[in-house]
Symmetry: C2
């Protein structure tokens, strides 16, 4: 997976190797499908050692979830700073989300699936991750929207509704990729498919559609 080259509590190698392995496994298989043995194999160690470093499957899972969420709710921020117009901001946002999720396509589905299945614990983790964000993505987004409404760049819209449409449009492709591939195969609409080319087209399409949708 290799999402967390940056310093994240454990700088030493072993814990990190295990966490990367655990992420791969949990994201691929979900909580119920993930196997401690399989995580150990991926990490190149044996099962007791797994328990030595992370007491239980649950503990390991929680740390994994925390990291994945922190990454997922954080990566956009760096790419949208200092954009003056809403147009620029929107473009940067879309590019950032699509590029990043295209490289880690299972993450959005993983987070949503586990959240809608899981109990208090996982929601607590989400809550914590969100509260640690400074500033929160949602706030940056909202600020930009409101500013653009005030300057008259865009017409009045409900920020939450717009954000949901934006995220839905950006994330849908990677989440539904198997369906789209199958549809494409069956209808022939996709021709000979070039993923990275398609993603560029997708960025452009989302931007155009949404910007036309809101501009005054």
């Amino acid at each position: 997976m290799m999402l967390f080259d940056d310093v994240t509590s454990e700088e030493g190698s072993k814990e990190k190797i295990i966490l990367e392995a655990a992420m791969d496994e949990f994201i691929a298989e979900g909580w119920a499908g993930a196997r401690m043995q399989s995580i150990a194999d991926r990490a190149g160690i044996n099962k007791p050692l797994l328990h030595y470093y992370f007491r239980s499957k649950e503990k390991l899972y929680n740390q994994t979830v925390y990291r994945v969420m922190a990454y997922f709710f954080g990566f956009v921020l760096g790419n949208v700073e200092g954009k003056d117009s809403f147009q620029e901001f929107l473009r940067a946002f879309i590019d950032s989300v699509i590029d990043e999720t295209a490289e880690n396509p299972r993450i959005p589905l993983f987070i949503m699936q586990e959240l809608s299945r899981g109990g208090e614990t996982i929601r607590g983790i989400l809550s914590q991750v969100l509260s640690e964000q400074n500033p929160p993505v949602t706030e940056v987004m909202r600020t930009n929207l409101i500013r653009a409404m005030e300057t008259g760049e865009i017409r009045p819209v409900n920020p939450i509704q717009f954000i949901m449409s934006l995220l839905g449009s950006c994330l849908y492709f990677v989440m539904a990729e198997p369906i789209i591939m199958e549809l494409g195969k069956q209808t022939g609409l996709l021709g000979n498919f070039d993923r990275s080319r398609f993603l560029e087209e997708r960025k452009e399409a989302v931007f155009t559609l949404l910007y036309n949708g809101v501009r005054s």
Copy 2:
């Protein structure tokens, strides 16, 4: 769950009861998390009887998946027939998708998750379901889009790109509901939340945004 009151191969009660139970369990827990015992309990029977009717977990799962997919890719069709303008068509489509998924919020996530995790078998099922559609949803959608472009109601757009943005916008809320609820709680942006009121607002917002986004 009660999705299939209509005749679907087994008219008798037992098989149907079991299938409903299996759907609830599989949708809630996924393939790996679902337990045959739990399905039996939900159906009010015991485990050997489950195997008597459906030989194995895999067989039962495949039937479940087939039915869920057939439902998911089919329900829209009835609601969008006979719409003259693209405007009407789009509105009916959005209303239909949002209403239906709001009642069965786990289904989109279930399908996407299992597809991106599963192997040949589940993709084969998807392929079959799609090929059995007459006409396919995708074709109806495409026809309407092309007609609207020809009459000049909307500007030229790539059909696949538009469909993806549309579906993403419609489905995102139910898929990400736990995240949105948490965000709302944390930022106070949602106030005292009324789900059905919000869904109405959502339909309107999606329609306005997308229609403005494409109209000439």
